[in-house]
């Protein structure tokens, strides 16, 4: 029973790099049988159905859920980046929220117009978005003299310095960041599309900013996820896993370890930057207090809960950690054990903290590999049970 669990504690390099909706391979489906064919067809249909639902949601779901979904999508993009760094290459980072801040504020700086208190370059928003992501990459690159030399805990705590530097700059460089109250986020516009709050009727449904941004979020997340899957499945991905599993051996095999580690750091920062831009667009205002330590810890929680080293895991973990507090806050009155604010007892905010803290511990102890491995673990248990029954 504990044997397969032990093995999955350190996911093998190839297995977890599956996209979220594809069921894990190596299942029991007996080839050729009618059931097996049906199963295979279902596996192809399922992602398509999922995609359809996601595309249709803005026509049905209320703005609250779309906004929560957008937070989850942004978090998923950031978590994919962190998972490339921490999950796949084994570099612990507590500074991820710094790069989110670079992306968010970078976009505001490049796209914003100077308004007397804050400077802005007034560039076309799409260009500003690309530049902001690049800027986050450059920030990651600037940190590489440190990132390249340090490992494990040293790197983790060194990246903590980024958060403090980031907070200091965000509060003090007022003409760039707007200081304590942050700065407004320019509306994204390109090719005549404007992601603003102006109501546009689409098939009779009024589209405001969240509905429009929903599709942008889907596109960015899909592109980010596909790119990460591509990286992990190809040569660089195997090299990254080799570095994580045995750095010295990887060096001996001819992998340029330092160059890879630096490059992954830059790539992960760019993912964070993109997540930051998307978040800023949803918030419509950037505030410095958001980009602190607790956000960075939240991202680590996401990848552990979802599954280290896996793109699908990052997405699942991000959805779990982002949506839980929203659901608990919204339905606090009707949920057992949780009391409405002001009545004493466990408030929804506290409940969601307790829940996701405990989920981190539980995921590592009882479900190594995270939520993304849950179907596989369940199936293995079932097989084991069947085997004991037949014998």
């Amino acid at each position: 029973m504990s044997e397969p669990l032990t093995k999955t504690g350190n996911p093998p390099p190839s297995a977890p790099a599956a996209p979220p909706s594809a069921a894990p391979s190596g299942g029991p489906a007996p080839a050729g049988s009618g059931r097996g064919r049906l199963h295979r067809r279902l596996r192809r249909l399922l992602p398509a159905a999922g995609a359809l639902i996601l595309l249709a949601l803005p026509f049905y779901a209320e703005a609250f859920w779309l906004r929560a979904g957008l937070f989850a999508m942004a978090a998923a993009i950031g978590a994919i980046g962190l998972n490339l760094l921490t999950g796949s290459t084994g570099q612990l980072s507590l500074g991820h929220s710094f790069f989110l801040a670079v992306g968010a504020y970078g976009y505001c700086l490049f796209a914003g117009d100077p308004d007397g208190t804050t400077t802005g370059w007034g560039l076309p928003p799409l260009l500003a978005m690309v530049l902001a992501v690049a800027l986050a990459g450059v920030a990651g690159g600037l940190f590489s003299p440190i990132a390249g030399r340090l490992r494990g805990a040293y790197l983790g705590i060194a990246t903590l310095a980024l958060i403090f530097i980031g907070q200091h700059v965000l509060f003090n460089a007022k003409d760039l960041t707007g200081g304590f109250n942050g700065r407004p986020v320019p509306v994204l516009e390109f090719l005549g599309l404007s992601f603003d709050n102006e109501k546009t009727l689409v098939a009779g449904v009024p589209f405001t900013a969240v509905e429009k941004l929903w599709y942008l979020g889907l596109v960015l997340l899909a592109a980010g996820a596909l790119f990460a899957v591509g990286v992990l499945k190809s040569r660089p991905g195997r090299a990254m896993n080799a570095i994580r599993d045995h750095r010295i051996a990887a060096g001996v095999m001819g992998i340029p370890v330092a160059r890879y580690r630096g490059a992954v750091f830059v790539l992960s920062s760019m993912y964070a930057g993109l997540a930051g831009v998307l978040l800023a667009l949803v918030f419509q205002r950037t505030v410095p207090g958001y980009f602190g330590i607790s956000l960075a810890l939240t991202y680590l929680a996401m990848i552990v809960i979802g599954g280290l080293g896996s793109v699908g895991g990052a997405v699942l973990g991000a959805a779990f950690v982002t949506l839980i507090p929203q659901i608990l806050t919204r339905y606090s009155e009707s949920l057992p054990l949780i009391s409405a604010p002001g009545t004493g007892g466990v408030a929804p905010g506290e409940a969601s903290e307790l829940l996701y803290g405990a989920a981190v511990v539980a995921a590592v102890l009882f479900l190594p590999g995270g939520l993304v491995r849950l179907p596989l673990v369940l199936r293995m248990r079932r097989q084991a049970r069947r085997r004991t029954k037949t014998s």
Partner: protein, 424 residues
Amino acid sequence: MSRIRRLPASAVAAATALALALTACSSKAEDDGGDNGSGGGDGASGELETGAGVTDTTITLGALTDMTGPYATLGASITQVQQMYVEEINGAGGICERELALEVRDHGYDPEKAISAYNELQPNVLAFPQFIGSPYVTAVKDQVDSTDMVPIVAQAWTASLLGSPYIQMVGATYDVETINAIDFLVSEHGLAEGDKIGQIYFEGDYGENALEGAEYAAEQLGMSVVGQMIKPTDEDMTAQVSALAQEGVSAIVISAGPRQAASIAGVAAAAGLNVPIIGNNSAFAPQLLATEAAPALLNNFYIAASTLPIGDEAAKDIADSYLAAYPDATLDNGVLAGYNAIEIITEAARLACDNGKLTREGLTEALRTMSGFPGLGVTHDFSDPANPSTLETVILKPDADAPGGMVVHREAAVSDIAGSFPRE
């Protein structure tokens, strides 16, 4: 064994059905005239015009609070007293023949939750008598001014929130409060031209707004300000106080939190720096009187505020019913801030009802006619959103025997300098 495999089959079926339904009419689709809001007539004469948050039986108000983050203490007091107030009003028959309902969302000072909660409640409430967290109020300000137009009482006193027709603060802003505090130091503690005033202030808009006031007052009085900026996480004020002592300051103004105030008073007393210390209204909590700093606070420490203390005779009814409803709660001035806020919104709703227009617009218009609203110890004037509702400041003093830990030291007054403080 096939149980699991059948699950996706049904999921696919459901998904396909959902996708097919795309072509059908969406529930979100707009009907004609859907903009008019939920209930009621179209403002025909004699009939009550209503809008978002108002049905035939209920008026819904929203509260965006922080009960699990850094402002948990303030958030708990405000929310509890507002819930109590709502019950009192409903017990007395409600207003406008409707019951009040208060929807509370705890955002824990997290922007994701704050923005979500605002947008969730916004379509369904008449007004927000509570919104904690000035960065988040600022974040939704443009949206409020341009599309939502929902009246909000922000539990912040920074001048940066002035100017929106819908966002209202109850009381003097920190700049005015600090000016009045310095005026008090001059009249009662003999500060004079050439003196130095030390100010220990938080980074962010609270501290910086208070600093603006102090610098203006000092300039008018021929004094100078020695500033020491700190963060909310700084708790040991030894270095700051010794720096001020080196400068030879004649008084200390604290625009920080209660813990910092206690540390400053304690360190100054221990080091023999015997100067008057005055804090803004957020610099005191009754819990401090149970700490080692109590003797120092009782001796030489004052608070500037836009309300009488909760322990005052005038607030006795509120304090008594609050303690009856929440026997374990701590009495502090957050209770009064919360009470004032919802009382003002309710009063404006009453007026709006009398005017036949119980909508957001009607409530805002009614609020603008309230130019002589009697608060606790000060009079509020809500007619001009570009100015704080009052320029008056009460000076309070800690007192271990008073409920809430404070008594009035000087009644409400406006200094000449506060009256001349320029606002663009």
